[in-house]
């Protein structure tokens, strides 16, 4: 009995070891035979590729996208897609380190410049392939030289291809206030921080939505933290700071000098103001703990009853849902105080909204590189690109017959156009080139963006030469990239909790000096020096 058991046990152990060793190769063969069996008959000549697409959680399965099927067919490839909607940042590191990667990666900055530097030899240099058989990509490079700058690494190689989508406004963030509540209470549109404060107090105390419940109004809300889109950091524009690309980690440029608002006295003023609002109960108490979904759903109210008074977002219909969106008005940037003479500014995000880096990347191990490149080139075809962004011809885009096209409203009437776009296609996460010459009438959401951007126009007439950090066009060396990334992790680890604490509990005055010193210790000064160096050399080359 004991002997038998021993034999069984050791057999089990050995097989476990063998299986562990083989699992990698066996899963690979499984993968290919899987795709082969279904279509073996008609697609015998098709080149089989594997791909990863990092898409929006709402986006429907790629297999259901008509335009994508056509693009694959035309290139004579069949791609087995793995679709990722969450935590790509975490999955990526381990996948790349193992070296077991698919042929294509698609998504917004799906593989970063830092990854290219670190995982050398893993990715395909596309420069020759682009020259040889990617006329559409070349067309983009010629028409928009910026795209070539974005694509080219310091060593002259091209690993990832960028996008250009042309229609997007100069800023991602717009500022909204509930106009109906203002009217209900007979209030004027606020123009300064103090006026805003008074309006918010009235929102809170006077049952602004008129449903009889004095407590359900949330006067102010944002998705939490400091920096990035839809964040109160844009109020720094009242003091003349131009954020760029949301300034997620606080960096901005002023008169050609790289700075960081996290240690700026003007930021301190903003925090004091936000703390005053919080203490008066004007800010959603869950502002630092809720997640984006909750932040969105609260603003959509219940039925016709709005919940949020003042907040930031992309467009009203996306932020508040179609039903209560009409209650909201897009606001001009506020002045700090009536007598302030600081030039009003706002977050300038034109580059990051209209260009994108590394939207598609090829593995160096891809067997049939020409076929893969042909497929990529198809994505940059003017007609296909349009569908990458807005969805398939027929269901999402109408061909007007005269060389012009129109984006169709959602077939599901309950859905807002923004959500519809993200559901239907790769949207902004796809590689594309929307040529300036393409005749495309935009949908309701995009015209909404443009109208709701109107109030920001004055503030956004910033000098891109002296007041915007050209983040997208700058390529750091590996060592600098590592330093920046490590320091920024430490910096945000320090700044985010402090900001949350100061807004909710106050105390910024007493802690400010120590905090600034801590930030410097976390590497802020070093990062500013690095960024200044790159900024100067970029500016001197691109005058």
């Amino acid at each position: 009995m004991r002997k038998k058991l021993a034999v069984v046990l050791s057999l089990f152990m050995v097989s476990a070891v063998v299986m562990a060793g083989c699992s990698e190769s066996s899963s690979k063969t499984e993968g290919t035979s899987d795709t082969g069996s279904g279509n073996a008959g008609k697609s015998g000549t098709k080149v089989k590729l594997t791909g990863i697409m990092v898409k929006h959680p709402l986006t429907k399965p790629l297999a259901e996208m008509e335009w994508l099927k056509k693009a694959e067919e035309e290139a004579g490839v069949e791609i087995k897609w793995q679709e990722i909607t969450a935590d790509w940042g975490q999955k990526k590191g381990t996948m790349l380190a193992s070296g077991d990667v698919p042929d294509l990666f698609v998504g917004a900055n799906v593989i970063t410049d830092a990854d290219f530097a670190q995982f050398q030899g893993l990715f395909q240099d596309l420069s020759d392939l682009v020259n040889k058989n990617a006329p559409n990509v070349q067309m983009m490079f010629n028409a928009k030289p910026e795209t070539k700058i974005i694509a080219t690494q310091p060593d002259g190689k091209i690993y990832g291809l960028p996008k250009y989508q042309r229609f997007w406004p100069a800023s991602a963030t717009r500022q909204f206030i509930n106009k109906k509540w203002l009217d209900n209470l007979g209030l004027k549109m606020p123009t300064t921080w103090d006026e805003l404060y008074n309006v918010l107090v009235a929102f809170k105390e006077k049952d602004a939505n008129g449903n009889g419940d004095l407590k359900d109004e949330i006067p102010m809300d944002w998705p939490g933290g400091i920096g990035g889109y839809f964040n109160p950091a844009v109020l720094l524009g009242s003091e003349g700071i131009t954020l760029s690309d949301g300034s997620g980690q606080g960096y901005y440029v002023e008169n050609g000098k790289v700075k960081n608002f996290l240690i700026d006295e003007r930021f301190k003023n903003l925090v004091v103001f936000l703390n005053k609002c919080y203490a008066a109960g004007l800010i959603n108490p869950e502002v630092f703990t809720h997640d984006y979904t909750k932040y969105q759903s609260i603003a959509r109210g219940t039925g016709d009853t709005a919940k949020v008074g003042f907040t930031w977002g992309w467009v009203a219909s996306d932020r508040f849902g179609d039903q209560v969106a009409p209650q909201y008005a897009s606001m001009s940037p506020l002045k700090r105080s009536a007598d302030s003479n600081a030039k009003l500014s706002w977050s300038y995000d034109y580059n990051s909204l209209n260009f994108g880096s590394n939207m598609v990347v090829m593995s160096a191990k891809t067997k049939n590189k020409d076929a893969a490149m042909k497929f990529i080139n198809n994505l940059y075809d003017p007609k296909v690109s349009m569908q990458v962004l807005f969805g398939s011809l027929g269901t999402n885009i109408k061909d007007n017959g005269d060389d012009s096209y129109s984006v169709l409203p959602p077939t599901d009437s309950k859905m807002d156009p923004g959500t519809w776009k993200w559901t239907s296609t790769m949207a902004d996460n796809g590689p594309m080139y929307i040529a300036d010459s393409l005749k495309l009438n935009l949908g309701k959401d995009m015209s909404e963006v443009l109208t709701q951007s109107e109030p920001l126009k004055g503030a956004l007439s910033v000098s891109t030469k002296t007041d915007v950090y050209p983040n997208l066009f700058i390529k750091y060396s590996t060592a600098d990239n590592n330093t920046l990334s490590l320091n920024n992790t430490n910096l945000m680890n320090l700044a985010n909790p402090k900001f949350a604490q100061w807004v909710t509990k106050g105390g910024i005055d007493a802690q400010w000096d120590a905090y600034v010193k801590e930030c410097q210790k976390a590497g802020l000064q070093q990062n500013i020096e690095i960024m200044q160096k790159y900024y100067d050399s970029f500016m001197s080359k691109n005058k």
Partner: protein, 285 residues
């Protein structure tokens, strides 16, 4: 007979350890795990000079020690109570009930905490308002993070951890109870003089083992519970390693921090074991 077990340990536990050298080298993808330039203790120094070092150590040690100090006696007390229940059916039902939370996955548990402790909509928030404690967001405060973490941990695992003590208690010779009763011992006295001495060896062994985990606070739960407001007390070595290593791709640096963590654990384990050996003649080896 023992060979397969040794083989498994060698292959899966000792084999991968050659990767530790990554902590002393630059990571170079092209040259593989062992190909990068040798940097010696560079990354260890970087960590110790990091401005976060003191906070990370403090948070990790506080959370771990609190978990041990509060979490260690809980299953013992529970086991002693369960052991006192004479009705077999009731005991079984009770035991099963206290085991159950152990099987809730971490993400679900943290989800439950978020729902229950939400100051706006949660039942706990509601009750606190009812008794006049006001609007405290328990998950978003530096002073309540640790208690919430430790108490929810105890609630979740106490029942399961009591099993081993119940097993130890069941080995007690019934004659001991009988003679205690004849001597007129009260219930409390039987616990004090019969039950507790019987499980002391188990307690010591488990205590030594848990000391080895002093810096090994669980990653998932803390990471999931983190937010901007509790970050000053909730950033521990494990979560920092994750942020640096996996998210920012600094493999060498995070290996060094991880190794540092392990070495400290090891020192704690050895020290407690030695102390225990010295004073109670009881030890792991």
């Amino acid at each position: 007979m023992i060979f397969p077990a040794i083989a498994v340990i060698l292959i899966f536990n000792y084999g991968p350890m050659y990767g530790i050298q990554l902590a002393f080298r630059d990571y170079d993808f092209a040259k593989g795990l062992t190909g990068g330039e040798w940097r010696g203790l560079y990354y260890f120094k970087q960590f110790m000079n990091s401005y976060l070092f003191a906070d990370l150590m403090k948070n990790t040690v506080t959370i771990s020690l609190a978990s041990i100090v509060l979490g260690f006696p809980a299953p013992i007390i529970l086991a002693l109570i369960l052991n006192q229940i004479r009705r077999k059916k009731a005991k079984q039902i009770l035991q099963t009930t206290v085991y159950l939370p152990h099987f809730i996955s971490t993400i679900v548990l943290v989800g439950m905490l978020n729902v229950l402790l939400s100051p706006e909509t949660g039942i706990v928030g509601y009750l606190m308002k009812l008794v006049g404690l006001g609007d405290i967001n328990l998950l978003a405060s530096t002073s309540t993070f640790m208690p919430v973490y430790v108490l929810s941990d105890i609630w979740q695992h106490c029942g399961w951890n009591s099993i081993i003590y119940l097993a130890a208690l069941s080995t007690i010779d019934p004659q001991l109870y009988d003679s205690a009763k004849i001597d007129g011992a009260s219930r409390w006295q039987t616990i004090r003089y019969v039950d507790i001495p019987a499980i002391v060896p188990t307690m010591i062994i488990l205590f030594i083992l848990s000391m080895g985990n002093v810096l090994g606070t669980g990653f998932e739960k803390i990471f999931l519970m983190q937010n901007a407001l509790n970050l000053p007390v909730s950033e521990v070595i494990a979560t920092y390693v994750y942020k640096i290593g996996i998210v920012s791709n600094q493999f060498s640096y995070s290996s060094a921090i991880g190794l540092f963590n392990t070495v400290i654990n090891f020192i704690f384990l050895i020290a407690v074991n030695a102390i225990s050996k010295r004073f109670s003649n009881m030890s792991l080896w």
